[in-house]
Amino acid sequence: MTGKPVPPRSFQEIILRLMTYWGGKGCAVLQPYDMEVGAGTFHPATTLRSLGARPWAAAYVQPSRRPTDGRYGENPNRLQHYYQYQVLIKPSPPDLQQLYLGSLQAIGIDMELHDIRFVEDDWESPTLGAWGLGWEVWCDGMEVSQFTYFQQVGGHDCKPVSGELTYGLERLAMYVLGVDHVMDMPYNDPDSPTPLKYGDVFRQTEQEYSRWNFDQADTEMLLQHFKDAEAECERILSAPETDKAGRRIVMAHPAYDQCIKASHLFNLLDARGVISVTERQAYIGRVRALAKKCADAFVTTEAGAAA
């Protein structure tokens, strides 16, 4: 951590630097999961791979959707679609904090001028039946990352323990680039032939999805989709372990896709305001039950086996 870091010039440069940094530290640089999720944690590279004894190291960007956070592109800090940068390393290395601080340095945060602190923040995902202990990391009073040591996922103890880092990319980038409104943030290099701001890429979609999420999404259909996803998840998991050719193939991932679907459908229904306070807990419990069953299935597979 010596020498003045060179400040990045765009949102994408920050992502590229994180990719280079974590790739250089031995992480497999993965691509986003091709489904709608509420957070990078839902990517099977985190949820499922944090289970079992096999070492794992992955980093990726995950587009994340939080329908209730939509503000039609008007709020400087809130979006219904945004990006998380996610790192998961199993077992958690002893120098994970130093590695993490190195990544901040890599994206242009000068450790000599800023105040970085680790403030208690325990993580719990009721929908995933998961929890861990860690911090939110503050840079000059702003939360720039979540840092968690996973203790349990899908109801299973994590052995060994994974270290998880989650960066809220827009917020972090706005801070590093000194931008006040997310839509004003340079997406690519401002000096490129076609300079694009974040708003050029996402303002219209924020408007469209905000309207759909809040007013238009067909709740009857979403409710049916929720039930379908739930049923399909259960069906996949109750299928015999051996296929027609006699091979043992447990379908943990296809089942987990349905769990992800159910979770996102629940978020959409929530945004439409059709889930009452009492029902909320019941829906969360149903998704958690699916997540647990998927975890149960995954730990019987090669990738998820215990030591």
């Binding site: 958690s92 800023h114 105040d115 602190r117 403030v119 325990d122 000059d140 009073g141 306070v277 009492t278």
Partner: protein, 719 residues
């Protein structure tokens, strides 16, 4: 005498856990050392975000040798018995001593436990302490199985004396004790060795780590108040925040910055809560206006630009937060100005209060009816109290309270004013939650008192009705606090509120409501009252009513004990009729407590007890109750005649005093009995040979008992 230094160096320990962890470390280690036979002169524990430290001075170098003797069988006992003794002591026959005893030769085993060296004991105690440390929440990391609050990186464990210092050999999982530590994460990275506590502390200070949390607190507060004072401002005191912030930094650097002009119009509570909860900033106010104008943040490092970058970043985050708050504030006020607070509260129909107790809207309907009912008893306008109850919880639906739940009530008051509601209603929005704890103020405005009572009594009767009472240390709905709140409210008003009949009414009413619904809760309440008045005693009293009253009595005892009133004094008053009237009960208890502290009081109590004992014995023996009334014509001595006169006078004075609830006067009248009773017992033999005299004197004792019993049940007083 060596000194011991232990440092457990980890990733950042949550600030809120540090104080407790210091105490636990000190207790577990020193208790362990003492249990193993070591002594020490003094011990002190310290913490920073990354370390938990214990310094023990004057530790003994080894534990003493212990000699243990065990008596065995006789020397000529059967071989099997001697075998057994050898097995149990682990000795051989020739190691046993034979001693002469009055029964003959007896075998003794003498086992010497040699003392152990301090390093061995420290190693053992430290490992045990680490493995069993009572963190509120702990975790595993990497591949290990050890649990600690966050990953434990190094253990420093040194014993040092004049000859030098040595590392205590201890390894816990993969961490082996060393004599080195680290300084500030950013300002002085790298490890260094230390030789003992003083060296450790001094080197840490040079490495930008202030070891003592109390010193950090002092430094922060001193610097913050100095900076504020220089600009004619003052820091809003906040001991909880100060302790937390001191637990977040190793090298506190205080920075003061301005709050944007556009946010200064926000209520001070909003500014303060937003800054405190989200940013851990202190509020800095202008003492002339009370307005909060600046913030103080505490960074964990010095920088070349003297904190300019850090302050700029913090100010920017604050602006984003306060923009949100201002948005909520403006939106909420627009809402109440268009649809009123009741309009804001409409959504509460869909919010469940408790799945067995219905929605928040149902609860508000009950509180409204109760507030209307209670209002006249506390001098409030029933209509205003009902209106206040209707809107007092509306702010639960506001955007601001959604974001800052701790501002419930406070925002209600602001929004009530924005909606143009009468001031007593606005006041009640906040005050009806009070008192929030034993040290919180009790509201005084009658409307606030009525709604506060209604709210708490609704909560208590509700959870009583579904049998969710506090048990042991479990009180998830804070019912003890609610009952204490009712007690303090009633006592502060000096008004009489007969609780038993109120509870009875409410429990019967709740039964009706579960059928009739909450649409016209007050009409249902009136209906129940009419039925009670009409049917009188034939209306059953739900058993919960008496049970809840007992709960109140228990809380009252705790409350009065804290005011210095003995439990037996309270019992003596609780045994009297009208004990569901807390005001009366406490007046009686206070008067009795004061009376028993006087000379007259203690002596009268002795006289009363003597009379009562003699009378009780005689009544038990004779199988009659001597309540015929004594006749003055059988009085033989002056002492008897004087007591007759005194009793008559006392009765004449006590009855009206009791009627007027003037317990002081009643006690004073009772005090006048002291001298005649003493004189009576000094000169008169109660159990006279003459049966007529005896019966008359016993009847006289009875009137002593009856006269005193009309004031309080003195049989319950101890001593």
């Amino acid at each position: 005498m060596p000194d011991l230094l232990i440092e457990l160096f980890s990733e950042e320990i949550p600030a809120r856990m540090q104080a407790r962890a210091r105490e636990d470390l000190k207790k577990l280690v020193t208790d362990g050392l003492v249990e193993a036979g070591l002594t020490y002169a003094s011990a002190g524990a310290f913490s920073t975000p990354r370390r938990l430290v214990l310094s023990v001075e004057g530790l003994s170098a080894e534990s003493p040798t212990l000699r243990e003797e065990r008596k065995g069988p006789k020397a000529d006992a059967p071989a099997a018995a001697i075998e057994g003794f050898l097995r149990s002591t682990g000795l051989t026959r020739d190691q046993l001593e034979t001693r002469e005893d009055k029964k003959g030769a007896v075998l003794f085993a003498v086992v010497e436990k040699p003392g152990r060296r301090a390093p061995d004991i420290v190693a053992e105690v430290l490992e045990r302490t680490i493995r069993a440390f009572p963190w509120p929440k702990s975790m595993r990391w990497g591949t290990g199985s050890l649990r600690w609050v966050r990953p434990l990186h190094s253990i420093l464990c040194l014993l040092s004396d004049e000859a030098g210092s040595q590392v205590v050999p201890v390894t816990v999982d993969q961490v082996t004790a060393v004599n080195t530590t680290e300084g500030h994460r950013f300002m002085a990275p790298g490890r260094f060795a230390v030789t003992g506590f003083d060296d450790y502390r001094a080197k840490l200070q040079r490495a930008f780590v202030m070891l003592d949390a109390a010193e950090r607190e002092q430094a922060i507060w001193h610097e913050a108040t100095t900076q504020a004072f220089a600009q004619g401002l003052e820091v809003v005191p906040d001991a909880g925040l100060l302790a937390e912030v001191a637990g977040l930094v190793e090298w506190p650097v205080v920075l003061m910055g301005p709050i944007g002009e556009e946010f200064l119009g926000l209520p001070p509570e909003v500014l303060q809560t937003s800054m405190r909860e989200h940013q851990k900033f202190f509020s800095v106010r202008n003492p002339a206006t009370g307005r909060i104008e600046k913030f103080v943040t505490v960074a964990n490092r010095e920088t070349a630009d003297h904190g300019a970058t850090i302050l700029k970043g913090n100010a920017k985050v604050l602006s984003a937060r306060l923009s949100d708050a201002r948005f909520f504030w403006e939106n909420d006020r627009r809402t109440v100005q268009t649809v009123g607070l009741e309009g804001m509260a409409a959504g509460l129909a869909h919010v469940t209060f408790h799945n067995k107790l219905g929605s928040e809207a149902d609860r508000i309907a009950r509180i409204e009816a109760l507030a209307r009912e209670i209002a006249p008893l506390v001098g409030a306008s029933p209509d205003l109290a009902a209106e206040a109850a209707r809107v007092a919880k509306a702010d639960l639906q506001s955007a601001m309270v959604g974001e800052f739940p701790e501002l419930q009530g406070t925002m209600g008051s602001y929004y009530a004013r924005a909606a143009g509601l009468p001031e007593p209603v606005a006041l009640a929005c906040k005050a009806h939650y009070q008192p929030l704890g034993p040290s919180d103020a009790v509201p005084t405005d009658p409307v606030s008192v009525a709604v506060a009572l209604a709210d708490k009594i609704d909560t208590l009767t509700g959870f009583w009705a579904i049998d969710e009472k506090p048990t042991g240390s479990k009180d998830p709905f804070a019912l003890r606090r609610a009952a204490l709140g009712v007690i303090r409210l009633v006592l502060a008003t000096h008004r009489q509120l007969p609780l038993l009949s109120l509870f009875r009414l409410i429990f019967l009413w709740r039964q009706q409501l579960s059928v009739a619904g909450h649409a016209d809760a007050y009409a249902v309440l009136v209906g129940v009252q009419v039925a009670i008045r009409r049917d009188g005693a034939t209306v059953t009293t739900p058993s919960e009513a008496a049970d809840l009253l007992t709960f109140f009595h228990d809380r009252l005892k705790v409350h009065l004990r804290e005011q210095g009133i003995r439990h037996d004094v309270i019992d003596a008053c609780l045994a009297m009729p009208g004990n569901d009237d807390l005001t009366l009960l406490v007046k009686r208890a206070e008067a009795l407590s004061a009376f028993l502290k006087t000379d007259d009081g203690t002596n009268l109590l002795q006289g009363f007890k003597r009379a009562n004992n003699i009378l009780a014995q005689a009544e038990a023996r004779d199988g009659v109750e001597y309540s015929f009334g004594a006749d003055p014509k059988f009085a033989e001595t002056d002492a008897e005649r004087a007591l007759f006169a005194a009793l008559e006078q006392a009765e004449a004075a006590i009855a009206p005093a009791m009627q007027a609830e003037d317990f002081g006067a009643a006690m004073a009248a009772m005090a006048a009995l002291r001298a005649p009773i003493d004189a009576f017992f000094d000169t008169v033999q109660v159990n006279a040979d003459n049966p007529v005299l005896r019966r008359n004197r016993l009847n006289m004792l009875h009137s002593i008992r009856a006269t005193c019993a009309s004031v309080a049940d003195l049989t319950r007083i101890e001593g």
